[in-house]
């Protein structure tokens, strides 16, 4: 019964995570939720970009079919929709669409050949650039090549699967709300790992059973909401901001003490950017307490010391009592 309830809770939590959208794309938009300009950023390419957003910014677009000689309404393919607000909140918000896409796209109808254009990968722009040297994109690329995701490059895996350049935004360094960061980052994984239509593009596996696979995890809902998938599923590399070496599932962290201990790996991953504050009010890994509480990782040194003193005190008193009893018994004999 408890398992059933936990599964329902987990399912809701996954749905909740999705509401943060997959890497910024909006999944559950309603009639009343159409794109209003909610982002204050003003792009110097706004007018140019609007020519693209006019059709690619929503589900429906319209054009004049010169052969038929009339206006035609059509549905935009979901993969070609870039919501304007998502784009202007993303890391690449200052870009013009034609910085990455061919100038030829300004013509409509677009030529069929353009669809075959090669997409840039992160390293194409970020590699070998002094401006981005501190992020070590080359090392990120090297780790990615060792990751289990890289094995699927032939099936179409690329940086884009996790970092859609139209919508992706760095959260962990920029967001003070860690729960939002966790939900956003996990939604990137769940975009494929809990969405079969995306999942089947890369694998022949017939089912995703993310909840059942994590049945062994106590308090599954809490874990899903309070840590990112990558905490357990990547190899930590201290040289790069976020680990990109996704390990195969049999190499994932399963030992609870990797996190639930004084030297918790969370300090090198989830709390890496805040970990300067090592202790707070006597708690080990105190920074975790700002957003969460991890049994075993958040021991309190004062309580530890106090409890040890009380324990030793009790044992000493009992020891003295025993000695006095033995002495009295000897006197009686």
């Amino acid at each position: 019964m408890k398992l059933f309830v936990l599964r329902i809770i987990s399912l809701f939590s996954i749905i909740n995570l999705f509401s943060f959208s997959s890497a910024g794309s909006s999944l559950f938009k309603t009639e009343n939720d159409k794109d209003h300009d909610t982002v204050s950023f003003v792009s110097r390419f706004d007018a140019d970009n609007n020519r693209c957003f006019k059709c690619h910014g929503q589900e429906k677009y319209e054009y004049t079919n010169e052969t038929l000689g009339r206006q035609v309404n059509a549905m935009m393919c979901s993969e070609r929709i870039i919501h304007k607000n998502d784009f202007y909140s993303s890391n690449h918000k200052s870009f013009s669409c034609t910085d990455c896409h061919s100038e030829e796209y300004v013509k409509f109808p677009h030529s069929g050949e353009l669809r075959m254009e090669q997409k840039y990968n992160c390293i194409d722009c970020h590699g070998g650039d002094e401006k981005f040297a501190k992020y070590h994109f080359e090392e990120i690329e090297a780790d990615y090549h060792k990751s289990t995701h890289f094995k699927m490059e032939d099936e179409g895996f690329s940086c884009w699967k996790c970092h859609n350049p139209h919508t992706y935004k760095i959260t962990v360094r920029n967001n003070s709300n860690l729960k939002e960061t966790i939900a956003y980052d996990n939604a990137i994984c769940l975009n494929c790992h809990s969405n079969f239509s995306h999942f089947q593009l890369l694998t022949d596996r017939k089912e995703i059973s993310i909840i059942e696979k994590h049945d062994w995890l106590p308090n599954q809902t809490s874990h899903f909401a309070n840590v990112r998938c990558i905490e357990c599923h990547t190899q930590i590399n201290n040289n790069i901001p976020i680990s990109h070496l996704i390990k195969s599932k049999d190499q994932a962290v399963k030992l609870c003490n990797e996190c639930h201990s004084k030297n918790s790996i969370l300090m090198a991953s989830l709390y890496k950017f805040e970990s300067k504050e090592q202790r707070r009010d006597g708690f080990f890994n105190g920074i975790i307490l700002n957003a969460s509480y991890v049994i075993g990782a958040n021991r309190n040194q004062y309580l530890n010391t106090l409890s040890l003193i009380i324990f030793v005190g009790v044992i000493v008193i009992i020891g003295i009592h025993i000695i006095l009893r033995i002495r009295k018994n000897k006197q009686n004999y």
Binding site: S222, N257, E258, I318
Partner: protein, 203 residues
């Protein structure tokens, strides 16, 4: 003197066994590190056994409270005497000085008085204060999604956990003292046998 009916002995036995499991697994969860991956019991096993023992303990506690309500056993946990504080002093003095001088027990066990004043106070504090707090905070940790998120700006989970480990610690200390004081009967083992046979041996 027949002092411990069967239901009390069964309750006590289950309580003792579950407490031992809870102490060992609780310490394992709190203090196991990567270097000592099985400090006492590995974390994953500790969580499972801790949850199991806790649920049994809660059911056993309900059994205990119900038993005390339905039988005369509940009267042993009531403080009625006006001079209870001075009685406490007498009992404390006996344990710390009197018994070494060969003085008689100030409150010998009778059918009407199973516990001496110190026992009564500590048992009341343990069973009606510490254990309920331990159970409530334990439920909060077992189901963190229902725990209050913040309480006066402090994480509800931290407070729940501190309450839980503090109560767990005090009850562990209580258990050590309880086991030791049980050697203070007519013979060091007679009180233990009493809890098995049900009969209290006169000192």
């Amino acid at each position: 003197m027949y002092l411990y009916p069967k239901w009390i002995r069964v309750w006590h036995l289950i309580n003792a066994a579950m407490f031992l499991i809870l102490i060992v697994t609780g310490i394992s969860m709190q203090y196991t590190d990567k270097e000592n991956a099985s400090y006492v019991v590995g974390f994953a096993k500790a969580v499972k056994w801790h949850n199991f023992a806790a649920i049994v303990l809660v059911l056993n506690y309900i059994f205990f409270v119900t038993g005390n309500l339905l039988t005369k056993n509940g009267r042993y946990y009531r403080i009625g005497r006006k001079d209870f504080m001075s009685d406490l002093g007498k009992q404390f003095k006996y344990y710390s000085v009197g018994m070494f001088k060969g003085e008689k027990h100030p409150f010998p066990v009778t059918e009407e008085r199973k516990f001496n004043p110190l026992q009564k106070l500590t048992y009341i504090l343990a069973m009606y204060v510490a254990v309920p707090l331990l159970i409530i905070s334990g439920i909060g940790l077992l189901l963190p999604e229902i725990t209050i998120k913040t309480f006066f700006g402090v994480s509800g989970l931290i407070l729940t956990d501190i309450l839980h480990i503090t109560m767990g610690f005090f009850l562990s200390i209580f258990m050590i003292i309880h086991i030791y004081t049980c050697t203070l009967g007519a013979k060091p083992t007679s009180l233990f046998w009493g809890m098995i046979s049900g009969y209290h041996r006169e000192e």
